[in-house]
């Protein structure tokens, strides 16, 4: 024991460890009585990030960065029990990181902790937020199954909408003329080296600034930030009622961080990592790429906005978001911090969360996607096994109508439910719609022979409300 003490004294003397780490660890922080647990979100994000670093390094030791082998190497990793858990932890770690960094940003925004003198704290946090989103996106591509492959293509197509440089940018993302050998290496380099290097750097900046400027005190209404007096006032406050970060506040960070890590681990063990889809073979046309949950709402947004506005939204929405984040502390660097005195901040957060939540929910049901694997209507739905109505039901399936229109629970939900079409539309209205099509329905005027049209009409006219509720739902689960 005595020896260890002397060893430490010697080591500390020649390294200056305690004089370097002591002050930052013991720096005074506000007591933050009621809101003290809100202050753990940033460190919990860091905890999730460290999970990503450790599991990511472990995964990369078996992952093969080759377009031809990555898929098989991931299947290998998933087939080993610990590999499966590590993949799961990496996935739920990213999930935790996205949720926590989002909550942390909302907390800081609502409490206006970005105001003087902490503007650069916020700006470095913006870099970390965007970097985290990029990590989530590139990580999905590294799964390099069919979903990962087509995500790279969709990313290139979206970048292609950028004015002037779109075509170049799209092919830059693919690292060539078409997605293939070079594409995966590009995303790997971004995910494993480039973006993490930026994250490490800015985490250091972020933490340094937290210590340099001190942790913001919980806001009080009627106590605006005045850059001329704030620092003096804050120092006095800390002298009066500050508590040492270690251990008074740090224990909460570590305790909550531990819960986060535990949750990540349990999800990985119990639920497991996302399934690896079909191989990344561009010639397998049977593909319905969907982003992972973090970008599902954006996928839905692009499907539901009017077609003409799409290019504007693809380019402008991310741009406006970034400009807002950057200009916020520069424009609103002083004044009231309390959310009660900044009601618009509450409105904005509710609007943002509600919008993302709405589109997220839409993305899960994907009502705009045709159900191209819907089975033909069974006789129990059609009602007869031969004759024009049965012929019409077959045409309804063959011509792709059923991919988008629901009949008694079968088919897609992009177009109107036609279970009771016979009650709602006249024969003439049906002909007009079938011939002229609509914004989201092709015209079938050159696509149906007269007898086919007659059979189809006979089928549609036989659809009555009575059917809609009598028939039990289809045996297959709807996507």
């Amino acid at each position: 024991m005595r020896f260890l003490k002397r060893l430490w004294a010697w080591f500390d003397d020649i390294t200056g460890t305690s004089s370097a780490l002591g002050p930052p660890l013991m720096h005074p922080v506000p007591k933050a009585r009621k809101s003290r647990w809100f202050y753990v979100l940033g460190s919990a994000t860091l905890a999730a990030f460290l999970v990503q670093v450790v599991t990511g390094i472990a995964l990369s030791s078996s992952y093969v960065t080759g377009s031809g082998q990555a898929y098989d190497s991931l299947r290998f990793i998933s087939s080993v029990p610990l590999g499966r858990i590590l993949r799961g932890m990496h996935y739920y770690g990213s999930t935790a990181m996205i949720i926590l960094i989002g909550l942390h940003a909302i907390r800081v925004y609502l409490m206006a902790a970005y105001k003087y003198p902490r503007q650069v704290n916020w700006l470095s946090g913006v870099v970390l937020l965007l970097g985290t989103l990029l990590m989530a996106f590139t990580g999905q591509i590294l799964r390099w199954d069919q979903g990962g492959f087509w995500t790279a293509v969709v990313a290139a197509e979206q970048a292609g909408r950028t004015p002037f440089i779109g075509n170049w940018l799209g092919h830059f993302i693919l690292a060539g003329a078409s997605p293939g050998g070079a594409t995966l290496s590009r995303f790997f380099a971004a995910h494993v080296f480039f973006i993490p290097a930026v994250l490490f750097t800015f985490i250091a900046v972020h933490l340094y600034l937290v210590v340099h400027n001190g942790i913001s005190e919980p806001p009080k209404a009627g106590q605006p930030v005045d850059p001329r007096t704030y620092k003096r006032w804050y120092h006095a406050l800390m002298k009066r009622e500050g508590v040492p970060f270690w251990p008074d506040a740090a224990w909460r960070d570590l305790f909550f961080g531990c819960l986060v890590v535990l949750a990540i681990f349990l999800l990985a063990v119990i639920v497991g990592p996302p399934e690896i889809g079909k191989p990344p073979d561009p010639t397998i046309i049977q593909a319905s790429p969907r982003p992972d949950w973090y970008f599902l709402w954006y996928f839905a947004l692009l499907a539901l906005i009017p077609n003409w506005s799409e290019t504007i939204v693809i380019v402008a929405v991310p741009l406006i978001f970034i400009i807002f984040l950057i200009s916020l502390p520069l424009v609103a660097g002083k004044g009231e911090r309390s959310p009660i005195r900044r009601p618009w901040s509450i409105v904005l957060v509710i609007f943002l969360v509600a919008t993302i939540g709405y589109y997220w929910h839409q993305g899960m049901t994907a009502p705009w996607s045709p159900h191209m694997d819907a089975p033909p209507l069974p006789e129990s739905v059609v009602g007869v096994s031969s004759g024009p109505i049965a012929d019409g039901a077959k045409i309804f399936y063959d011509k792709g109508c059923e991919f988008c229109h629901l009949v008694s629970g079968y088919g897609g939900i992009r177009g109107p439910d036609l279970s009771d079409a016979g009650d709602r539309m006249t024969r003439a209205e049906m002909v007009t719609r079938i011939y002229s099509g609509a914004a989201n329905m092709p015209s079938y005027s050159n696509n149906l022979k007269p007898d086919e049209l007659n059979a189809l009409l006979a089928f549609l006219q036989s659809r009555h409300r009575a059917y809609k509720y009598k028939i039990s739902p289809p045996p297959i689960a709807q996507r």
């Binding site: 003397d13 087509w150 293509v153 969709v154 092919h171 060539g176 050998g181 010639t283 593909a287 290019t311």
Partner: protein
């Protein structure tokens, strides 16, 4: 022993060294050394970053070449089928991703047309539904008529076609970059 060697309490070296700012000669020398130092750092940084960034930004030029899709007789007139062939510039480690696909239709005895599988909306793979005579995209429900023109849904541009020719009884398709729909 350790304590006698260290200036415990104030062992920071972060206070600036004393300089003789008053001496103009000294000041000039330091300005010169500053410039030299920054220049050296800049040159070193450029030597490292310029080739690295140029390598990253440089895109391999993809050659356009004709790839055989088999004999003309293998295709029935009026039928649209999926064909697969090697992409413009496959790399040795590309594996399955070296392949690319197209929808090929034999229009008559000699004439073929090939449609890109990439939806012009956001690049998802379109499927040919033979019974419906339509191309359909599973992502956002874009639909194209048999001639590739937009039938409905979000796409604004028709499906891209690839050049196809018949050469000595063989159908050949010209490789092309992935079509990027620009704004």
């Amino acid at each position: 022993m350790a304590n006698t060697l260290s200036n415990s309490g104030s062992d920071s070296l972060l206070e600036p060294a004393a300089t003789r700012q008053a001496d103009p000669q000294d000041k000039k020398r330091r300005t010169f050394l500053t410039d030299i130092g920054l220049l050296a750092a800049g040159v070193a940084a450029a030597i490292v970053t310029v080739p690295a960034i140029a390598f990253l930004l440089g895109l391999r030029k993809s050659p356009t070449n004709w790839r055989s899709l088999g004999r003309v007789e293998d295709y029935k007139v009026g039928e649209t089928v999926e064909v697969s062939f090697a992409d413009p510039s496959p790399l040795p480690w590309s594996g399955v991703t070296a392949k690319t696909a197209a929808w090929l239709r034999r229009k008559d005895q000699q004439e073929f047309v090939a449609f890109s599988i990439y939806c012009t909306h956001l690049g998802c793979p379109v499927r040919w539904i033979a019974t419906a005579n339509l191309f359909m995209c599973p992502c956002h429900g874009g639909v194209f008529y048999a001639d590739g023109s937009v039938a409905s849904g979000p796409p604004l541009k028709p499906l891209v076609t690839y050049p196809v020719r018949v050469n000595q009884g063989l159908v050949e398709i010209q490789t092309s970059p992935v079509p990027i729909t620009t704004g």
